[in-house]
């Protein structure tokens, strides 16, 4: 009964005209950037970060969340029609989606992708709604030792799943922690690594770093390679999948929803991994695995459902523990803080309107996306035809203006350019930028909780091992970090990384 009341509160917030408008803007922009290769949800969210400053906390989070799950919808369009993923979570959709388009079945592929996304997204919101309250109660028991160990675990999973060398991913994460510690020490207000620059006293901004690493660096990589894309020339008709399509897709959709939701909850996991694992699972369970890669609709339905289901799951650690499980949630944490809201176990009690309003808005946003993606598919196909030589100056313009308006200082523009170059070189030398950003956000929290735990335990490191939750987190983290040294486990990790890259 209480749950129904809370959902009612959420819908009362989400259905306010302003919040509906922001929700629509979020899902519309999300779909747009999902459709356009070259800019992902992280870049788009950081671009629109300043736009939310004048909005209420509810409207701001509703819009940013809309960009995230909207991008998951839009990404499939580019994969199916162009064979280039609009964003990373749609890479696997290229395999069968594009083959379906080549066989004249672009309509059912796009339709099933939209329906699967809707069903996966909705299932994950129900999961979020049911799991968040008990987890918040549980999280109240967390102390500094548990928070420290949980963050170490989150970073370890992200490092474990990074492509290529784990040592490189660890170096990147360590660099992120150092960047996060620049500025005044939160305990004794001592300046650290500020080089006597006034601009660095408050630390380096999240937005210039993210825009540099994900916006400018992506443009530099595309400009370097002269990206060419051709939209598959076909009339898209019959978006509604046939009865046979539904029969073949029903279990992949159910499995994708469950898999995506639970992988989304895990720190370091998320939409990309869930889509790959869903594809692998469907291929393994299929009676005709040879159809995969040649236009099997299950290869579209499962991954597209899973990557949307993961978006709902990813909100759980952020909203119940205050710990972001991935880079996108780290950006959302930044948005919460800008608006004076601290996500965590007490958020549900202190800000029920915001907590339930965001969840309710996701139901509404998913419905909006279904409308945007089915009848308006022709419009997105036209967007795909905009050449990159026109797009990239506009992306750079948004990066420049967006970064400047956050702090009204040219210094932030230079920071963004520097990280654009760093991100470009990192991609070239096979260093992943995601651990850097997550470590940058978690760095100050990690340090704060470490120091508090050490003060509480009077200098005994045993506090991290005598508290059960903390001990389990640290043991799992240790297992993940040393596993590449065990040949069999190391091969397993490489397989996962290769699957992701290919």
């Amino acid at each position: 009964m209480e749950l129904l009341q809370q959902i009612g509160t959420g819908f009362a917030v989400a259905l306010q005209p302003t919040n509906l408008f922001y929700c629509f803007v979020g899902v519309f922009i999300g779909t747009l950037i999902g459709v356009l290769p070259g800019i992902g949800p992280v870049g788009a969210m950081s671009l629109l970060f300043p736009v939310t400053f004048k909005a209420t906390p509810e409207a701001a989070i509703i819009m940013l969340a809309g960009i995230y799950y909207g991008a998951m919808y839009g990404g499939s369009t580019t994969s199916i029609l162009v064979n280039i993923p609009g964003e990373a979570a749609s890479v696997v959709t290229c395999l069968d989606g594009y083959q379906m388009a080549r066989k004249g079945r672009a309509g059912p592929a796009l339709g099933m992708s939209a329906f699967g996304s809707f069903l996966g997204g909705t299932a994950s919101i129900v999961g979020l709604m049911l799991l968040a309250p008990p987890l918040s109660q549980f999280a109240i028991k967390f102390g500094p030792a548990e928070y420290f160990s949980l963050m170490v675990l989150g970073l370890s999973i992200l490092i474990y799943l990074a492509h290529g060398s784990m040592a490189k991913a660890l170096i990147t994460a360590a660099f992120g922690i150092v960047l996060g510690l620049i500025g005044l020490d939160s305990i004794n207000a001592r300046p650290r690594l500020t080089f006597d620059r006034l601009e660095l006293v408050d630390g380096v901004g999240l937005v210039p770093i993210v825009m540099g690493l994900f916006g400018v660096a992506e443009v530099l990589l595309n400009v370097e390679q002269a990206l060419k894309r051709e939209v598959f020339q076909t009339r898209i008709r019959g978006l509604l999948p046939s009865a046979r399509d539904w029969v073949e897709s029903r279990w992949p959709i159910v499995r994708g929803s469950v898999l995506g939701f639970f992988l989304g909850i895990l720190p370091g996991g998320g939409a990309v991994i869930s889509s790959f694992l869903s594809y692998a699972l469907e291929k393994r369970l299929s009676k005709h695995p040879e159809r995969f890669g040649h236009g099997a609709i299950e290869g579209v339905a499962g991954p597209e459902t899973a990557n949307n289901a993961a978006t709902g799951g990813a909100f759980i650690p952020l909203m119940t523990l205050g710990v972001p499980p991935n880079v996108i949630m780290a950006l959302l944490l930044g948005a919460f803080m800008v608006h004076g809201v601290q996500p965590g176990p007490l958020m549900m009690k202190q800000n029920p309107g915001l907590f339930w309003g965001v969840i309710a808005s996701m139901y509404i946003g998913n419905l909006m996306l279904l409308v945007l993606n089915l009848p308006l598919i022709g419009m997105w196909v036209q967007v795909l035809r905009v050449p990159y030589r026109i797009l990239f100056p506009l992306i750079l313009l948004f990066c420049l203006v967006g970064v400047y308006t956050v702090g009204n200082t040219v210094f932030d523009i230079y920071v963004m350019i520097l990280f654009g170059l760093v991100g470009y070189l990192m991609k070239k030398l096979e260093y992943e930028p995601a651990p850097l950003v997550l470590a940058f956000v978690l760095g100050p929290l990690l340090e704060n909780n470490l120091r508090k735990a050490m003060i509480l335990s009077q200098g005994s490191f045993a506090i991290f091992l005598t508290r059960p939750i903390s001990a389990v987190c640290l043991l799992v983290a240790l297992f993940l970090l040393v596993s590449p040294l065990v040949p069999r486990l190391g091969r397993k990790r490489e397989e996962l990384a290769v699957e992701e890259v290919s």
Binding site: A174, T405, I417
Partner: protein
């Protein structure tokens, strides 16, 4: 490796504190040391790797375009407070449209002017952002 060494030294300089009460440099020092250790590991494994043809990460790369875009972005940062938002943005966009990926003058100039004005209207007029006016005093 050098960066890790510098971070560790900075942490040491900031004071490590005691285990009962870690100081400002405690985490920096240890993270710096970890970076040094990992860098040594990466270097050793690179040296031990069997000699083969170097991976052509720069082969076919139009790095001159990359350098050009970076120079234009730095120039934007320099000119913004001096020339103002509208003028700087228009000039830089014409350059990006025309020089980096050449296309017709009409597209370059029309696209640049329209984009700069739309950005001005959205950020300055609608969102109330403070954009530099420059000598044209458009801001």
């Amino acid at each position: 490796m050098a960066l890790g060494g510098f971070v560790a030294w900075s942490g040491w300089d900031l004071e490590l504190g005691s285990v009962n009460d870690p100081g400002s440099g405690f985490l920096l020092f240890w993270v710096g040391l970890i970076v040094v250790g990992l860098s040594v590991g990466v270097l050793v494994s690179a040296l031990r790797a069997p000699a083969g043809p170097a991976r052509p990460i720069w082969a076919g790369a139009r790095w001159d375009k990359v350098a050009l875009v970076l120079v234009v972005l730095v120039a934007y940062g320099w000119a913004l407070p001096r020339l103002g938002f509208v003028l700087t943005t228009t000039v830089v966009l014409v350059f990006l449209f025309k020089v980096v990926e050449p296309q017709r003058w009409s597209v370059a100039i029309g696209g640049a002017v329209a984009s700069a004005l739309i950005a001005y209207l959205v950020f300055k007029v609608w969102l109330g952002a403070q954009l530099p006016a420059g000598f044209l005093e458009l801001g």
